[in-house]
């Protein structure tokens, strides 16, 4: 059964690695729903979060392949339930809807847990963080009634719920292992 999985990859920050990672999805015809690359809590180590929709078996196999890439420190996968995750979305709406004095957009923004980032006499930019369905729902409303002219959503960022910090445990073990090998 297909479902959503979050693949986390910790890697060295090397050129071309993104390509090496994505070809592992391409060759198995797995679509990447979203992708985020950023710094991790550890200096010099990048963190990829890749969201895919597939069977657990196929996800397991692709993670095993990613894990063995030379520049990858560790690859894991998680279900949505084991993560706290967010995406951020921005919306652009003509400012006439906010300046007409009826406060409908402002109310919608507030009730949706969004906020107005910037407003001028042409347009307003609204920001909302949340899960895909939430940011999508706000878009549906803004585009239906308020002529939302631009909408963009980021890739996912996620933090594990588990109290065990896998990466720090992993790095400790790895350092211990490497220190046994002479230079």
């Amino acid at each position: 059964m297909k479902k959503e999985f979050n693949i986390t990859i910790f890697s060295e920050n090397s050129i071309g690695l993104l390509n090496r990672i994505t070809i592992n999805f391409t060759r198995r015809k797995i679509n990447i729903e979203s992708l985020t690359v950023s710094a991790s809590a550890y200096q010099g180590i990048s963190k990829f979060i890749i969201v895919v929709n597939d069977t657990e078996e196929r996800v397991q196999r692709v993670v095993a392949q990613l894990d063995k890439l030379v520049d990858v420190l560790k690859a894991y996968y998680n279900t949505n339930e084991s993560l706290i995750y967010q995406e951020i979305a921005l919306y652009k709406v003509p400012s006439e809807y906010l300046l007409n004095g009826n406060n409908v957009v402002e109310t919608l923004v507030r009730e949706s847990g969004a906020r107005i980032l910037e407003i001028n006499n042409q347009y307003a930019v609204i920001e909302k963080t949340g899960h895909t369905d939430e940011t999508q729902a706000l878009f549906a409303k803004l585009s239906k009634d308020f002529n939302c002219t631009q909408f963009v959503r980021s890739g996912r960022i996620a933090i594990t719920r588990s109290p065990v910090e896998k990466l720090s445990v992993f790095l400790k073990e790895r350092d211990a292992m490497l220190s046994q090998i002479e230079d």
Binding site: E12, A64, V72
Partner: protein, 572 residues
């Protein structure tokens, strides 16, 4: 050693530091500075100028398989680099250690569609274990050290370094080489103890309890140099061992526990018995689909123990009961120590009974044919016998490859060079060049079909120029034989574009300055082979074989391994 050198000199000095004395390559604009540096080191490094970059990379593969060290090849940018790709892909799927060095346009021109610019780092990414573009001379020693470490450690594989031309010209103030021994993000093999201790214990318990166990041995045994450890394990447990195509020669052919080859055209016994076994012990093999055929019906009664260096292979194809991760050179002795001494004579006798069935219905016809025309099998066996079963076998791809794998016999390891995973036609002739250079004192024989021969025929020139005494046996059936076989068996004998109009191969060889001779009758065969083997230098034996012979046994695609066919009578 600290001295000021150019980037190109640094390339050569680094290769020397890695102990490299043989390079296969082809020059061109973007790698000319490196070739210029090489000119001064001809006393230390033999460079083999192949006739095509594909030849260079296959030769490097042949060299690596026989020597156990990384094969090195050079090519220029653009078309030179893209011509390497087939061989790199071949090396990737067969885990062959290669270090490929390509020239690249000068770094300020990268991305401008410069003359002979191609994105070889991008193109080779899916088929390399690692690759890297060097744009500054200072990076060269470290990049080369890393390249060798990655190519040769863990599960080996090809790496590619793409070196921009300006980096080749640049000066390095102080050349200093340090071998790479570790990379934070890359652990080539996990330490066996303590992590595998429990698994080894569980594996030993299963092995001790098994009634019908079978060992599947793959190339991992050869790559780990664990032949003796393997032998000790099977001899203590008495377990019959079957080899994969790439596992060939890891055991002597006539070892009493060697029960032959797995796979589509493997032996009858190991295929049939896979589905009767209660335990498979896979050692350094990866359950390729040519071995398993239909996975759903594969080894249904067997538990599976998998000894493997690459964790991503575990559970990739078949569900494993116990995985023992790590280098089999280290894990096998621990397992041998943990099991009880045992024997499985009755079970082994069942394999021998299968051998008898296979002999009566297939082998006797191949080796002692009643018909006039030569069979591939009798030629292969003749060459094997007349080289005292101690030659290095190289094959191309197709019927001749399967027949050679079935009938050639081995006494020592690293004696079989063949393209397994990719099945690359054109592999044989250049791979034989590498094999001969890696083992100058051994007889190297290469079996090739008339199709594959014409894919890399230009390498005859390389053999002649370098006086490599390779013995080429062209098993000439005037067809793309393996494809024709499938057309006959599964496509109503509709021979769609598989018949060849061939040149006079003897004249072709002679044109390259190579001695050659044609045999088409049984009574000429011994003499023909003797002449070839006694000839001092490369030689082509054009053996005209039956045009429409088929390779059997055969597990038809998609069938279960136990549905292996001994002849075509059951195919509609």
């Amino acid at each position: 050693m600290v001295k000021s050198v150019t980037g190109s000199q640094a390339v050569i000095l680094s290769l020397l530091e890695e102990g490299i004395d043989t390079i296969f390559g082809y020059p061109g604009g973007a790698i000319m500075p490196i070739y210029d540096a090489l000119y001064d080191y001809q006393d230390k490094i033999t460079h083999i100028l192949t006739r095509h970059e594909q030849g260079a990379v296959h030769a490097a593969e042949g060299y690596a398989k026989v020597s156990g060290k990384a094969g090195v090849c050079f090519a220029t940018s653009g078309p030179g680099a893209t011509n390497l790709i087939t061989g790199i892909a071949d090396a990737m799927i067969d885990s062959v250690p290669l270090v490929c060095i390509t020239g690249q346009v000068a770094s300020p021109m990268l991305g401008t569609d410069a003359f002979q610019e191609s994105d070889v780092v991008g193109i080779s990414m899916p088929v390399t274990k690692w690759n890297y573009q060097v744009t500054c001379a200072d990076e060269i020693p470290e990049a080369i050290a890393k390249a060798f470490y990655i190519a040769q450690s863990g599960r080996p594989g090809p790496v590619l370094l793409d070196i921009a031309k300006d980096a080749q010209f640049q000066k390095i103030d102080a050349f200093c080489y340090k071998k790479c021994r570790k990379i934070r993000s890359y652990i080539p093999e996990y330490p066996v103890e303590p992590t595998q201790t429990g698994n080894i214990k569980s594996a030993a318990a299963i092995i001790d309890a098994a009634q019908k166990p079978m060992v599947l041995l793959g190339q991992g045994v050869i790559q780990a140099q664990a032949e003796a450890e393997l032998q000790a394990f099977i001899e203590k447990t008495g377990i019959p061992a079957a080899w994969t195509l790439l596992g060939l020669s890891a055991l002597p052919t006539d070892h009493p526990l060697n029960v032959g080859m797995l796979g589509m055209h493997g032996n009858y016994g190991p295929n049939i018995k896979t589905n009767e076994a209660d335990l498979l012990i896979a050692i350094g093999m990866r359950f390729d689909d040519r071995v398993t055929s239909d996975v759903k019906s594969y080894a249904r009664h067997a538990r599976i123990i998998h000894l493997e260096i690459d964790p991503s292979e575990i559970n990739k194809i078949v569900k494993t009961d116990v995985a023992v991760l790590g280098n089999v050179k280290k894990t096998l002795p621990l397992l041998t120590a943990a099991v009880h001494k045992n024997s499985h004579d009755a079970w082994l006798a069942e394999f021998r009974a299968c051998d008898k069935i296979e002999f009566d219905s297939v082998i006797s016809k191949d080796l002692h044919p009643a018909k006039d025309g030569l069979t591939m099998g009798e030629v292969v066996r003749m060459v094997s016998e007349m080289t005292h079963d101690d030659a290095i076998l190289v094959t191309d791809v197709g019927q001749q490859q399967m027949v050679a794998a079935r009938y050639f016999r081995f006494r020592r390891s690293r004696s079989c060079v063949t393209s397994g995973g990719l099945g690359t036609m054109g592999y044989g002739l250049p791979a034989a060049i590498g094999a001969q250079l890696a083992a100058p004192d051994r007889t190297v024989v290469v079996f090739v079909g008339d199709g594959g021969f014409q894919m890399t025929v230009q390498e005859l020139g390389t053999m002649v120029q370098n006086k490599l005494p390779i013995k080429i046996i062209l098993l000439n059936n005037n067809f793309l034989g393996m494809v024709r076989q499938w057309q006959e068996l599964f496509f109503d004998k509709r021979y769609s574009f598989t018949e060849l109009q061939n040149p006079n191969f003897v004249m072709i060889a002679n044109g390259f300055g190579m001695d050659a001779h044609k045999v088409s009758h049984r009574d000429e065969l011994v003499e023909g082979v003797r002449r070839m083997l006694e000839h001092d230098g490369p030689y082509l034996l054009d053996a005209i074989v039956e045009k429409e012979d088929n390779v059997f046994p055969m597990v038809p695609a998609g069938a279960s391994v136990s549905d292996i066919l001994l002849d075509n009578s059951s195919i509609k």
